[in-house]
C-alpha cells in the first residue's frame, strides 16, 4: 500500500478547476519530485492535499496512510502525519519560534510534551542546520528574510518528523549556501523516515539530493513520470519539450 494514493483527483479554486483527474502514488521512504511550469497546479496540489478550505475537490480521492483525507480539516491531516513546508510561510507576531515549536510538538503528540527530549532534539537540529539559538526567541517569521523563513520550515520538518512532507519550493529565492542547508535538512528528514514530495522549478536543488522519482505536471495534470533524466531534460531544454514531443 502506498503512503499516499491520489486517484482521479481534481481541484478547483473559486469554481475554476486547476487540477484535472490526477492520479499518482507516493511510497514511504521515497523522495518524489514534482516539477512543472508556473500555474500548472503544483502548489494547488499541495494545498488541496493539506486541506486548505479554499481548495475544493469536486472529484477524486486522496488516501493517506490508508485513510481518505479529502474534506478533512488541516489539523486532523497534520495529526495523521502530513506536513506542508510553505513557499511563503505566514508571520505570527508576538509568538516566539520556540513557543510555536513547543505548541506544535504538543499538538501532534496528543497534548504531551517532554521538555527534556524536546530541548535536546532542538539543540541538535539547530546545530546541524547552523542556526543560532537566538533564532528561537524571535517572533514566528516576523521580519524574517526569505532564507530565514525557509530555514524555519526545515527546522519544523526536522522537529515534527512527519510521515510525509510536501515541500513547496523550499529553494525559491535562496542563494547557494542557503540552498545547501535546505538540502541537508531534507536529507536528514529522510533519515528520520519522512517521505518527501518536493515541488520545485529547478534542478539545482536536486543535485544535492537523491530523488527516487520525478513527475512533471502540465496543464493541471500528469505529463511525465520518470527519474532524474526528466529534470536534466527540463534543465537543458525548458518545459517546451513536453508540448513539442506530444505534437
Amino acid at each position: 500500500m502506498s503512503l499516499l494514493s491520489i486517484r482521479n483527483f481534481s481541484v478547483s479554486i473559486e469554481n475554476k478547476e486547476i487540477l484535472h483527474d490526477l492520479s499518482m502514488e507516493v511510497e514511504a521512504d521515497t523522495l518524489t519530485v514534482v516539477m512543472g511550469k508556473n500555474g500548472t497546479g503544483k502548489s494547488t496540489l499541495a494545498y488541496a492535499l493539506m486541506g486548505h478550505p479554499a481548495y475544493k475537490v469536486p472529484s477524486g480521492e486522496a488516501i493517506f496512510n490508508g485513510e481518505p483525507i479529502v474534506g478533512m480539516a488541516a489539523d486532523k491531516i497534520a495529526k495523521m502525519g502530513m506536513f506542508l513546508g510553505f513557499q511563503q510561510p505566514v508571520e505570527v507576531p508576538g509568538v516566539t519560534v520556540v513557543k510555536f515549536l513547543q505548541t506544535a510538538t504538543r499538538a501532534l503528540n496528543g497534548g504531551e510534551l517532554n521538555y527534556d527530549i524536546f530541548q535536546e532534539e532542538l539543540l541538535t537540529v539547530l546545530e546541524k542546520l547552523g542556526i543560532d539559538q537566538s533564532f528561537l526567541y524571535r517572533y514566528l517569521n516576523d521580519g524574517f528574510s526569505g532564507g530565514e523563513k525557509k530555514r524555519l520550515e526545515i527546522l519544523q520538518l526536522l522537529m515534527l518528523k512527519p510521515k510525509l512532507a510536501i515541500l513547496d519550493e523550499p529553494d525559491s529565492g535562496l542563494d547557494v549556501d542557503a540552498m545547501k542547508v535546505v538540502a541537508e535538512g531534507i536529507n536528514m528528514a529522510r533519515k528520520n523516515g519522512t517521505a518527501i514530495l518536493l515541488i520545485t522549478h529547478y534542478k539545482r536543488l536536486l543535485n544535492y539530493l537523491n530523488p527516487d522519482r520525478v513527475i512533471v505536471l502540465a496543464d493541471g495534470t500528469l505529463a511525465r513520470d520518470g527519474g532524474m533524466e526528466l529534470a536534466d531534460k527540463i534543465e537543458s531544454d525548458g518545459y517546451d519539450f513536453l508540448t513539442s514531443q506530444i505534437s
Binding site: 493539506m50 486541506g51 486548505h52 478550505p53 479554499a54 480539516a73 488541516a74 489539523d75 497534520a78 495529526k79 506536513f83 506542508l84 510553505f86 510561510p89 505566514v90 505570527v92 507576531p93 508576538g94 509568538v95 510555536f100 505548541t103 506544535a104 499538538a107 501532534l108 517572533y139 514566528l140 519544523q156 515534527l160
Partner: protein, 466 residues
C-alpha cells in the same frame, strides 16, 4: 433622617448582616434622601455628605457623555437602579449563571474563591493572609484599607486628595459615583517606601471592592513605589447592570504607581469607569488595563503630567466578542515641560463584537519638549466584527514630539491554515494568534495573571470564530 437610618442599620459596624431588610426599606431610584441615607448609614463626616449632595445635583444636571455607545447609555433607566451599598450575600451560588461557573472551573479556580468571585461570599479563608499583610504594611506606615474605613480612620488624608484628580463635575458617571460611592480601596504609601509585592491578594478577599460604585484612591508619597492590581481574569458576576467606578491616583514627586486591571464582568454589565492619575515632578504612572467582559465598557485611563519630567504609560487591551462593545483607550495631558508618555492600545474583535480606541493627547503652551508615542493595533476575526479608532491630538506647544501609529489587521485564512498545518485546531490557532498579538500587554503582567489571561483568551476563542 440620620437617626432613621441609624435605627435601621444598628449593626452596620459589622457589615450588613441582614441586607434583605435594608433592601426592603430602600427604594430603587435616586433622590437627595437616598444620598443622605447612604452617608448617614456610613456615619460620614459632614464634608462628605456635602460632596455627595453637590455631586448628586451635578449628576442630575449633566448630559450623557457624547462619546461611546449612545444607544446603550441613553437607554439606562436610572430610576430602576438601587444606589445603596449592595451587600454580597444577596445572591446564592445557584443564582450565578452556569456559563460563569463553567469558566471558573475551566480556569481551575478553587471552589471557595469561585464563590467569592461569583459575588456569593464576602470573604474566604485567606482573611488570615490579609491580616498578616496588614501588620506588615502597618509597620512600614502603609495604609491599605477599603475606602469606607479609610474615611473613618484617616479622614484628613482622604479629605485632602478625594475628588482632586477627578472632580465630581467631570462627567455624568463620575458625578453619579461621587454621589453614591461605596467601597473601593484606599492606599497611602509613605515617602521613600517601596512596596515590593503587588497589592493584589487584598482584592480577592475584600468583597467591598466588588461594589457597583466603588471609589479608589491611591496616594504615593514622594519617591515611593507601588503596584496595585485590581480584579482578576476570572469572570465577575454581577446582577447589577451598571458599574460606574472612579479611580484616582496621585503620584507625588519621584513616586511610581502602576495600576493593573483585567476586568471580566459578566456580559450584562455596563462598565462606565473614570480612571485618572496626577503625576508630579519626575513621577511615573503606568496603567495596564485589560477589558474582556461586560456588554459595554467606556473607560479611558488618563494621566495628567503635572510636574516636570513626569512620565505616563498606558497599555490597554480590549476584547470584544459577539454582542460586546469595548470603547476604551487612553488620555494623556502634558501640562509641564519635559514630560513623556507612551500609549499602546490593542483591540480584538470577533463575531459581531465592536472595539473602539478613543485617545486624547494634549500639550499646553509652554510645556516644552514633551514626547508622546501612541500606537494602536486592532486585530479582527471574521467579516462581521468592527473596529474604530478615534484619536484626538491637541498640540499647542511647537516643541512637542508626537508619533501616532495605527494598524488594523484581519486574521487571514492563510494564518490559521499555516498553524493548523502544524497540528493546532482552529481554536488553538486563533488563541495563539491572539496571545501573540497581546504579548506586549501580557509581558507586563505578573506571571500568574498572564497565564490566566492566556487561558481565558483560549476560552474566549473557543467555538466562536467567524
Amino acid at each position: 433622617m440620620k437617626d432613621n437610618f441609624t435605627t435601621i442599620n444598628e449593626d452596620y459596624k459589622y457589615g450588613f448582616s441582614n441586607p434583605e431588610d435594608y433592601l426592603y426599606k430602600a427604594p430603587a431610584g435616586l433622590n437627595e434622601d437616598v444620598v443622605r441615607a447612604i452617608s448617614a448609614m456610613k456615619h460620614e463626616p459632614e464634608w462628605m455628605l456635602e460632596f455627595r449632595l453637590k455631586s448628586y445635583k451635578k449628576f442630575m444636571e449633566m448630559p450623557m457623555p457624547w462619546w461611546g455607545n449612545q444607544e446603550i447609555i441613553n437607554a439606562i433607566d436610572f430610576s430602576k437602579i438601587h444606589y445603596f451599598v449592595k451587600a454580597k450575600g444577596g445572591t446564592t451560588w445557584d443564582d450565578v449563571p452556569t456559563d460563569i461557573k463553567d469558566t471558573f472551573e475551566k480556569l481551575g479556580i478553587p471552589e471557595a474563591e469561585r464563590k467569592f468571585l461569583g459575588g456569593v461570599t464576602a470573604q474566604y479563608e485567606s482573611e488570615v493572609v490579609y491580616h498578616s499583610m496588614k501588620k506588615e504594611f502597618a509597620d512600614q506606615g502603609i495604609v491599605f484599607l477599603d475606602m469606607d474605613s479609610a474615611l473613618k480612620e484617616y479622614p484628613e488624608l482622604v479629605k485632602r486628595y478625594f475628588g482632586t484628580v477627578i472632580p465630581f463635575t467631570d462627567n455624568k458617571f463620575a458625578a453619579l459615583n461621587s454621589a453614591v460611592w461605596s467601597g473601593g480601596s484606599f492606599i497611602y504609601v509613605p515617602k521613600g517606601t517601596r512596596v515590593d509585592t503587588p497589592l493584589q491578594a487584598y482584592f480577592r478577599i475584600n468583597a467591598k471592592n466588588m461594589g457597583q460604585f466603588e471609589r479608589t484612591l491611591i496616594i504615593a508619597d514622594e519617591a515611593s513605589d507601588v503596584h496595585y492590581i485590581e480584579g482578576c481574569t476570572a469572570p465577575s458576576y454581577s446582577a447589577d447592570s451598571l458599574h460606574a467606578a472612579v479611580v484616582e491616583l496621585v503620584a507625588l514627586d519621584g513616586a511610581k504607581i502602576r495600576y493593573s486591571t483585567i476586568q471580566n464582568w459578566s456580559n450584562n454589565v455596563l462598565n462606565l469607569v473614570t480612571k485618572r492619575a496626577a503625576a508630579y515632578r519626575n513621577a511615573v504612572v503606568e496603567w495596564v488595563d485589560g477589558n474582556i467582559g461586560s456588554k459595554l465598557t467606556m473607560k479611558y485611563p488618563a494621566v495628567l503630567l503635572k510636574g516636570e519630567g513626569a512620565h505616563g504609560e498606558i497599555l490597554t487591551v480590549a476584547m470584544a466578542g459577539n454582542g460586546q462593545h469595548q470603547d476604551s483607550g487612553a488620555k494623556v495631558f502634558h501640562l509641564a515641560s519635559n514630560t513623556t508618555s507612551r500609549i499602546i492600545s490593542k483591540s480584538i474583535s470577533k463575531g459581531k463584537g465592536r472595539a473602539s480606541y478613543r485617545g486624547w493627547v494634549k500639550t499646553i503652551p509652554g510645556a516644552e519638549n514633551c514626547v508622546s508615542d501612541v500606537r494602536c493595533d486592532a486585530l479582527m476575526f471574521g467579516d462581521e466584527s468592527r473596529s474604530d479608532t478615534y484619536p484626538r491630538m491637541e498640540i499647542y506647544e511647537p516643541s512637542t514630539k508626537l508619533t501616532h501609529e495605527a494598524t488594523v489587521s484581519r486574521v487571514q485564512d492563510d494564518q490559521l491554515f499555516y498553524l493548523m498545518n502544524r497540528g493546532l485546531s482552529e481554536t488553538e490557532a486563533s488563541s495563539l494568534i491572539v496571545n501573540g498579538f497581546l504579548e506586549p500587554f501580557t509581558k507586563e503582567l505578573p506571571m500568574e495573571y498572564a497565564v490566566e489571561l492566556n487561558r481565558l483568551v483560549a476560552l474566549e476563542m473557543d467555538g466562536s470564530i467567524g
